[in-house]
């Protein structure tokens, strides 16, 4: 590992945390490439990323709870069922062509992004929606 890798990893960790807090994602999208950069293998990077997501998501969720934004029961249901979904995903992933599904998901995300941007037009410019 070269000398700049550790400071770079710390900076990328910070960026992942900010993205997590602002957008409500875990941060794995930054963590996994960062860990690969540090020389970990694909499986180790995925596993280690999940452990790093735990304190990151916990911090964001606790802060959001204080702001009154967290819907506890919904979070529990989604989280618990997604553990089952992950197992199903493993079965699907081993049966399909990786490049095809990756691109299909990319297209789906672009469509979702466009729909969200259109729905934002209906929202007020100021802040009343989390009161």
């Amino acid at each position: 590992m070269s000398g700049w890798a550790i400071p770079a990893a710390i900076c990328l960790g910070l960026v992942a945390g900010v993205l997590s807090g602002v957008f409500g994602v875990g941060g794995g999208i930054i963590f996994v490439p960062t860990l690969l950069l540090l020389g970990l293998g694909q499986v180790e990077a995925a596993a280690t990323s999940l452990l790093a997501v735990v304190p990151t998501a916990a911090t964001g969720a606790l802060r959001q709870r204080a702001y009154g934004n967290l819907r506890h029961r919904a979070a529990l249901v989604i989280g618990a069922v997604s553990v089952v979904g992950a197992e199903l995903g493993v079965q699907i992933a081993t049966r399909l062509d990786e490049d095809v599904i990756r691109r299909a998901f990319g297209v789906l995300l672009v469509v979702v992004a466009a729909r969200l941007a259109l729905s934002a037009r209906r929202e007020p410019r100021r802040y009343p929606d989390v009161s």
Binding site: L14, G17, V54, G85, E123
Partner: protein, 115 residues
């Protein structure tokens, strides 16, 4: 309502393993459009769901010996600091601004996956 939430969880779990991106990117837009949560609440609830999923996933991998705790701390500690900044920052954004920013974020990741 529980059925819809369970469906979101199922979709998030499948997508996170098949595409290698976390469930959050799927959960947030689904909570907005399918359950009708405001954007801030959707992001908050997504984090709660991810906490459950990531804890289960990390434990499973840890039993198999794949987790490197030192590396997790190296990126996880700065990420905790970042998350404090991020959630604070999010509270200053209107629902509209946050939705637009999130859609830009999702679009970038979508394009990255296509290329």
């Amino acid at each position: 309502m529980v059925a819809r939430l369970a469906l979101i969880g199922l979709v998030a779990g499948v997508f996170s393993t098949v595409f290698g991106v976390g469930g959050g990117i799927v959960v947030v837009p689904l909570l907005i459009s399918f359950v009708g949560l405001p954007t801030h609440a959707a992001a908050a609830t997504s984090l709660g769901a991810i906490l459950v999923t990531a804890t289960a996933g990390a434990l499973l991998y840890a039993f198999r010996g794949d987790v490197r705790v030192g590396y997790a701390l190296l990126i996880g500690i700065p990420a905790v600091a970042g998350a404090l900044v991020g959630t604070q920052l999010q509270q200053r954004l209107s629902g509209r601004a946050l939705t637009l920013a999130f859609s830009a974020f999702v679009a970038v990741i979508g394009v990255r996956l296509i290329l």
